[in-house]
């Protein structure tokens, strides 16, 4: 044991950082470097002649390449979970997967921004810096292992998004959207931070696994028998709920969704694509991390690691003086396993709380989003509600995963795999939908659904692609959107229990409800007569090619979901262990 001197501490920190953590952090570093270059390049003479687009796309592609595992995807099957920067971040297959996902998205997104011309020569550098900064925040969000990183990630993802929402200057609606977004976002961030302060204060740590361990130490079922204990639990529940408020804001889950339709309508369609895909994906992974981080310790897992005796068992062994209490605990654990279907262990109340909370919000979001999308006249607003509904659907997968994690790791992995498949396919669906909206806005200067009437006659490719994407968003079989929905329902079915069955029924019903408003748009585009006033609508070659490239996977993966599903299965193969 080395003496604890400042020198030793600094040395070990430097070793840890340079040797272990930084190699896994290369994509993020590449993003940082790109942002710095973007901002500083104009200081130098002639710098303004370098198009920001090239810097941004080069940087993001570099980051994407760095994010790919050097030993090939097969190495994921054996990759262990590693904590970086002394436990601030966690690097596992889920991090690796979601980072590749986010960076691929950002590459496509930068190309889209260039094609639609939203990032012009004047604003380009700011725009790309904001996009890359938000992406950096999302990367941190999805690998957070510490409450500070959680908060910082959420803020780093949000603050640039506020500006992006108002990036179109001189438009009243745009500035209104940005104001609403920033105030709502900052408000929920404040609430979340307060919740974090309560949780960390009571549990004495901000490191998620340590928090889980002290939650297990608290022995919640026993705590509830005393008045003092009930108060502590109340504080924890309150803290948990407030933390949930912040996450629900990022997910635009009901009842914290109010910003979403307004911001989506006011902001430009490109930014909407960014918010609806990348931001949601990162938030969902974060939700999963919080759920798994607080709801599971190694002792909770059905397959306990014998080499590393879990702390909770050690605690239980110390309490041999009170055998009766232990017996009660064991009995409770056994009973609760039967009743609530979240598995046993001292953390089962935490999981139950999490699962109930997430399931309730998910059901309400899904139903509300689908219902409120009825009767919308603005396509962006309609898609905003659709986003809310989809976020609800995806949250169901998270709930199922956490419910299953206490019982059967393999089933829980299936649920997470369903979530990842959903996120991935959602990228193609929503990116192409918003790309089409953006390109059509450039051509027709309108975002009203009514103005899309009869588009199939003047611009058949666009109309067909849009229809395919919408049908895929409903989740009808020949298209890609069907598979993730099916797999989420499958995961819910595996989870079992009255609550999950209720969620399952709600999810199935919602698919039917969603049919109406998506098909209404498809009908407007394909069947309604063309208005006389509109001229020819043509996207041009590059935009059409972009839309084609992004939406063709919807068709391909609809028929051959195998490779993608295998990939997501691989990405979860080491989870929860």
């Amino acid at each position: 044991m080395q003496p604890v001197t400042l020198q030793n501490v600094v040395d070990s920190l430097v070793d840890n950082t340079l040797d272990m953590s930084l190699p896994f952090f290369r994509p993020e570093l590449a993003l940082c470097a790109t942002i710095v270059i973007l901002l500083f390049v104009r200081i130098f003479k002639g710098g303004e002649y370098i198009p920001s687009f090239f810097i941004a796309i080069l940087g993001s592609i570099t980051a994407l390449i760095l994010a790919f595992p050097a030993e090939g995807f097969e190495s994921w099957a054996t990759m262990p979970r590693q904590e970086l920067f002394t436990g601030m971040l966690v690097y596992d297959t889920l991090t690796a997967f979601i980072r590749i996902f986010l960076l691929s998205f950002v590459v496509l997104f930068i190309i889209l921004s260039r094609l639609t011309g939203i990032a012009d020569a004047k604003d380009g550098q700011d725009y790309y810096a904001l996009v890359l900064g938000a992406t950096l925040g999302m990367c941190i969000m999805s690998s957070a292992n510490h409450m500070m990183m959680l908060f910082m990630g959420v803020e780093m993802a949000s603050v640039p998004s506020y500006v992006l929402a108002g990036i179109v200057k001189g438009r009243q609606r745009s500035s209104e959207a940005a104001l609403k977004y920033v105030i709502y976002g900052a408000g929920t961030a404040g609430v979340m931070l307060y919740g974090i302060s309560l949780l960390t204060g009571v549990l004495g740590s901000a490191h998620l696994p340590t928090m889980a361990a002290s939650l297990a130490d608290l022995d919640i079922p026993n705590l509830l028998t005393t008045a003092e204990g009930r108060l502590t639990v109340m504080v924890l529940v309150l803290g948990g709920l407030m933390l949930g408020v912040g996450l629900a804001f990022k997910l635009s889950a009901v009842p914290f969704h109010f910003w979403c339709p307004d911001v989506f309508e006011g902001a430009s369609a490109e930014v909407d694509a960014f918010l609806s895909v990348a931001s949601k994906a990162a938030a969902l992974v974060l939700l999963l991390r919080v759920g798994a981080g607080l709801g599971l310790t190694t002792a909770e897992l059905p397959v306990a690691d014998s080499a590393d005796p879990p702390r909770v068992i050690a605690v239980a062994a110390n309490e041999t003086t009170a055998p009766t209490q232990n017996a009660v605990l064991v009995k409770q654990v056994a009973d609760s396993q039967d009743a609530t279907h979240v598995g046993g262990g001292p953390l089962s109340p935490v999981r139950r709380f999490f699962v109930i909370l997430v399931s309730l919000i998910a059901i309400v979001s899904c139903t509300f989003g689908n219902l409120a999308a009825y009767g919308q006249t603005n396509i962006k607003r309609m898609l905003a509600y659709s986003t809310i509904a989809h976020a609800g659907f995806m949250m169901m997968a998270v709930a199922a995963a956490i419910a299953l994690a206490g019982r059967d790791v393999v089933d829980a992995r299936t649920a997470v795999s369903a979530l990842l498949l959903y996120i991935t396919l959602y990228l193609f669906m929503n990116l192409s939908a918003f790309a089409i909206v953006a390109f059509l806005r450039n051509e027709m200067h309108s975002e009203d659904i009514a103005d899309y009437a009869g588009l199939i006659r003047t611009s058949p490719l666009t109309a067909v692609m849009m229809t395919a994407v919408l049908v895929s968003l409903i989740g009808l079989p020949p298209l890609a959107g069907f598979w993730p929905k099916l797999r989420v329902l499958q995961a819910l079915y595996m989870a079992g229990g009255p609550l999950m069955t209720f969620v399952l029924v709600a999810a199935a019903l919602n698919t039917a409800i969603a049919l109406v408003y998506y098909l209404r748009v498809a009908k407007t585009m394909c069947i309604d007569p063309e208005p006389d006033t509109r001229g020819a609508v043509s996207l041009g070659f590059l935009p059409a090619a972009f839309v084609f490239v992004v939406s063709v996977p919807v068709l391909i993966f609809g028929i051959l979901p195998g490779p993608l599903a295998n990939w997501t299965d691989l990405a979860v193969s080491q989870l929860f262990s």
């Binding site: 500070m148 908060f151 302060s197 608290l218």
Partner: protein
């Protein structure tokens, strides 16, 4: 293990509970301020109050002198408070810029004027 018996606050020496109570009061004030102020700057101030309420908690929970029972957040608490201050500053800067942009377009920073987007 931890409880906040309000009645005992006045009779006890200053401890975590006192700080947390002040933090809670700040939080509630901030929340009320956010929800009631019509001026955008007022709303932003409310947000600052909420953040500072949380910050106070962090500092209090992190202090070894106030709570020396091994469950202290330790340096984590102090660090988080510092980070939050930085993040709050960044957020405030962005929020003020957006409020200015709003003023340019609407000649007002009354948040009730932001009602074009609805439904």
């Amino acid at each position: 293990m931890f409880n906040f018996p309000l009645a005992n606050l006045l009779s006890e020496p200053v401890g975590v509970a006192h700080y947390v109570t002040v933090g809670a009061i700040l939080f509630i004030c901030g929340a009320l301020c956010m929800a009631t102020k019509r001026n955008a700057l007022g709303v932003l101030m409310g947000i600052e109050l909420v953040l500072n309420g949380a910050n106070l908690n962090f500092v209090a929970f992190g202090s070894q002198y106030l709570r020396n029972d091994g469950h202290s957040l330790g340096l984590d608490g102090q660090l988080m408070a510092l980070f939050v201050i930085v993040l709050a500053a960044a957020e405030a800067a962005v929020a003020l810029a957006i409020a200015l942009n709003f003023y340019n377009n609407h000649d007002s920073i009354d948040v009730d004027r932001a009602d074009q987007l609805r439904g």
